[in-house]
Structure formats: structure tokens, C-alpha cells
């Protein structure tokens, strides 16, 4: 990589890193893991930097990589997710307000792709199309994942009006 390219990469990384870190944290719920995810994503971006600058915006590319790194990490055996049927059982329960869990706990109970969908849509402000690109799925899937995630969150948080405006 030329010095000019590397300087451009460094400038991009410095300015985007805080936002990426927060997005990563909302996905994984742990600042240390978030730092690891961002470091991995930026490293992959470095490797692809010359091509990415020419073909697509670095922001979209690094968001894709970050999301894929997060999903890949969830796959690892020591970070096994709860089986879906367990989640659905919990989501079906009715909770009173004082039993409501906080958002961090509720997000942790969502399947990782649903969690990533919500964070991309409602935190990173990605459009449906951009979220579909990041998750490598169709726009219809993004919509259905969003709807399912919000339904689950409403139940877990005992908040029937959660996201009424945006869902």
C-alpha cells in the first residue's frame, strides 16, 4: 500500500472508529469484544482498502465486515447462543413493568442476526437496503427480522408501545 493510501486509511480509521466501536458494543454487549471486532474489521478493511476506495464507500464495506465478524464470532463454540425454542418460550411470557429487564439483557436474548439488524437499523441508521447488504440477505428478510426482533423486545421489556412509530 502506498504512503498516501495508508494515510487515507489511517484518517478514515481514526474518524470512524468510535462509531464502529459503539455499533459493535450494541451488537455484542461487551466492550472488550467490541474492541476485538473493530480491530478485526479495520484490519480486513486495510487489506481491501485500495479496492474498496474505488468500488464502494468504505463506510458500507466496513459495516459489512463488522457485522460479519460479529456473526462469525457468535458461531464459535464458546459463545454458543441459546436455542431458539428457549428464546421463544421466554418471549411468550407476560411481564409486569417492574419485572421488565433492561435493554442490554433483552438484546442478549435475541438471535445474533436479529440483534445485528436492530442495531444497524436503529443505531447505525442504515436503510433497509444497506442493512440487507451488511447482512448479505434480502430486504424482505431485513423487514421480517426487524419485525420479529421488535415483537420479542416488546414482550421482554413489557413495553407494548416500543418502536410503534418506527416499526
Amino acid at each position: 500500500m502506498s504512503e498516501a493510501d495508508e494515510a487515507a486509511f489511517r484518517a478514515f480509521a481514526v474518524t470512524r472508529r468510535p462509531g464502529l466501536r459503539r455499533t459493535a458494543y450494541l451488537m455484542c454487549g461487551d466492550w472488550h469484544q467490541a474492541d476485538d471486532l473493530v480491530q478485526t474489521a479495520l484490519t480486513k478493511l486495510y487489506v481491501a482498502w485500495k479496492r474498496v476506495r474505488g468500488d464502494e464507500t468504505p463506510d458500507a464495506y466496513v459495516r459489512r465486515i463488522l457485522t460479519r465478524c460479529f456473526l462469525d464470532e457468535r458461531r464459535r463454540p464458546w459463545r454458543r447462543e441459546s436455542p431458539v425454542e428457549v428464546l421463544e418460550d421466554r418471549a411468550a411470557r407476560t411481564r409486569s413493568d417492574d419485572e421488565a429487564m433492561d435493554l442490554r439483557d433483552a438484546l442478549a436474548l435475541l438471535p445474533p442476526r436479529q440483534r445485528a439488524t436492530l442495531v444497524l437499523r436503529f443505531w447505525a441508521d442504515a436503510s433497509v437496503a444497506e442493512t440487507a447488504l451488511a447482512l448479505d440477505c434480502s430486504e424482505g428478510t431485513v423487514k421480517s427480522q426487524t419485525a420479529r426482533a421488535i415483537t420479542t423486545l416488546r414482550s421482554l421489556l413489557a413495553d407494548p408501545v416500543l418502536l410503534e412509530e418506527t416499526s
Binding site: 495508508e6 459503539r22 442476526r113 436492530l118 447482512l135 418502536l163
Partner: protein
């Protein structure tokens, strides 16, 4: 509060300071870039499709004047049973104005011999203007003979993409059942079984991104876990780059071109997970793992003194054809 964006913002209160690791990112990126460039150079010989199918694995470096030269293993030219010493083909970029082929290979072979605790020597050399391609063999190894060194390296032909007609959950159920049979054959009592296919089926061109089965088994001092996970090389975004940088990672090239990596993970609290991964040339990855604690609903903080399986048994699972459906 009904706005999820506001709630996300609230979750971020108390954000700790970020590490200053941009130099590290750039250093790791440079190494990865060199590794990719090695792959690109090899593709000039073997053809891009062939290199994509035949996993290229950086396994050793030879230090020359402070500059690390990454060496890559190509497909084995003469598949033999794993118990026999095997010849391997290596490729490395040649730097303009760099050392001669003889000097370069001397350093390379020395490094590989130390790493593998076995004396290697060069059987064949193919030198081109921008790279070296050599076949090196440990003493006592057999190969296909000297052959024509100008011929391209034999490689595995591109494999068709995976396609499953069966319901994902039934696939997961099926191989979890096979896992249970094998674990029982080894005399272990299963106390919990779980079969799982990733919920969303769009990640890998219409297929679940992974299937996962695990069983908790009862050991004398508590429950422990054995699992198998089957997945695919994701996309061009995350190809298998051959890195073996997990703690205690060791790597073995198998006769069919697959790469086996064995590693150990310590997730904390005294837990230990042994992982054996087999990366097949077509992108399929079978990962067998065992842990000294349970993953199921009866899981406790207890850690068993021993792992449920021996390393050989875990390796058998990772190589078992039942999991390469």
C-alpha cells in the same frame, strides 16, 4: 421512552476509553496483505480457480534481514496416508534484488525443519521471475518422482457449491444423532442433546450458515460437553486465510488437501475447550470441540478435571464422513 435509538444511546453511557491500537491494525494488515500477495502470485501458476479450491496455508516464515517472507503450502503433490512422511510444495514471492534461489531455499528449509522437527530437503525446484515453487520432502518420504518441473502444480478441481434439499433442522437433528451414537460408543452417558441450525437461511446463498449439535455428558466429577459444528466458507469477505494464531494452534495438512487445526481455548473461570477444525478444499468446515463444562440447561459453574474425549477421539469426530454430508 419508546425510541430504541435513545435506549441504545443510554446503553452506551459509561463507555470506557478506546485502545490506541491503530498501529497494530496497520501492522497486522500489512502482514495479511503480504500473505494475500503470495496467494496472488501462486494463482499465476496454478490458475485462480484452482487456488481458490486448493487452500493455501502460510505455515512458516524465514527471516531475512528483518523482512519476514511468508511461505505457503500448496496442495500435496502425492497424497499418502497421514502416518507416512509426506512431501509438500511451497511457494514464496521472490524479491527483486533479493537473495538467490539457493540462499532463499536454504533459509526456508532450515525454518521448516526446525518447525516440524524433521529434516527436509528439496526434491524439485521451479523458479520463475517473481516466485519460487519447490517440492520439499522429509527424509524417507516417497513422492511421484522427479516429474516434469515445468508442469503446473497438481491441484484439486473446483467443487460445486453445496446445496441442501432437506429441512435445515432435520439435517441438524441427523448429525446430532450421529454424534450421540459415537459418544455413546465411547462409553459416555449423555444427559442433554441439542441440535441447531442457524435460524436465518439467507447468509450463505440460501443455506443456513451453520449446523450445530452438541451433547452434554456425565463425567464422575460433573457434566462436560462434546459438540460438532458444520459450516461453510462464508463469502469473499471472510475466506479461510490459513491463519493458525489461536493459542496452542497446531496445523496439519491432510492427504485430500484439507487442513486440520487443533487449538485450545480458555474462556475463563477454569474452563477449557479443545477444538479440532478440518477445513476442506471446497470450503466446508467441520469443527469438533469438547469442553470441561456443560453447555445445556443443567450447566453449572463446575469444571471437570478431565475432558470427556481423548484428542484422538475428537480428531475422529472432525474427520468423520458423517459430518461432511
Amino acid at each position: 421512552m419508546t425510541d430504541l435509538n435513545d435506549r441504545f444511546a443510554a446503553m452506551l453511557q459509561g463507555e470506557p476509553g478506546a485502545p490506541d491500537d491503530l498501529d497494530r491494525v496497520v501492522a497486522v494488515g500489512r502482514r495479511a496483505l503480504r500473505r494475500r500477495n503470495t496467494l496472488t502470485a501462486v494463482a499465476g501458476t496454478a490458475g485462480t480457480a484452482a487456488v481458490t479450491a486448493a487452500i493455501v496455508v502460510p505455515i512458516a516464515t524465514a527471516n531475512q534481514g528483518g523482512a519476514a517472507h511468508h511461505i505457503s503450502v500448496l496442495a500435496s503433490p502425492s497424497p499418502k496416508p497421514t502416518s507416512l512422511p509426506r512431501c509438500e510444495i511451497y511457494s514464496a514471492p521472490r524479491r527483486p534484488g533479493g537473495p538467490s534461489a539457493k540462499q532463499h531455499l536454504s533459509k526456508v528449509i532450515k525454518g521448516i525443519s526446525v518447525e516440524k522437527s524433521r529434516t527436509y530437503s528439496v526434491r524439485r525446484i521451479l523458479t520463475e521471475h517473481d516466485r519460487y515453487v519447490v517440492e520439499i520432502c522429509p527424509h524417507g518420504a516417497t513422492s511421484d518422482g522427479p516429474g516434469d518441473i515445468t508442469k503446473p502444480t497438481p491441484t484439486t478441481p473446483p467443487q460445486p457449491s453445496y446445496h441442501y434439499d432437506a429441512d435445515p433442522q432435520s439435517i441438524a437433528d441427523g448429525f446430532t444423532s450421529e454424534l450421540g451414537k459415537r459418544v455413546k460408543q465411547w462409553g459416555l452417558q449423555i444427559v442433554y442433546t441439542r441440535a441447531f441450525a442457524q435460524e436465518t437461511s439467507t447468509l450463505d446463498k440460501g443455506h443456513p450458515s451453520y449446523y450445530d449439535g452438541n451433547v452434554d455428558v456425565q463425567l464422575p466429577d460433573g457434566p462436560a460437553d462434546v459438540g460438532v459444528q458444520v459450516t461453510h466458507q462464508y463469502t469473499e469477505l471472510q475466506p479461510f486465510d490459513g491463519s493458525c494464531d489461536a493459542p496452542d494452534c497446531t496445523e496439519t495438512k491432510l492427504p485430500d488437501g484439507s487442513v486440520m487445526q487443533t487449538s485450545r481455548v480458555h474462556p475463563g473461570g477454569g474452563g477449557e475447550i479443545l477444538v479440532v477444525e478440518v477445513h476442506h478444499p471446497d470450503g466446508l468446515i467441520v469443527e469438533a470441540q469438547e469442553a470441561n463444562y456443560a453447555f445445556g440447561p443443567e450447566a453449572t459453574r463446575a469444571r471437570t478435571n478431565e475432558q470427556p474425549l481423548t484428542t484422538d477421539q475428537l480428531t475422529q469426530l472432525a474427520e468423520d464422513p458423517a459430518f461432511t454430508f
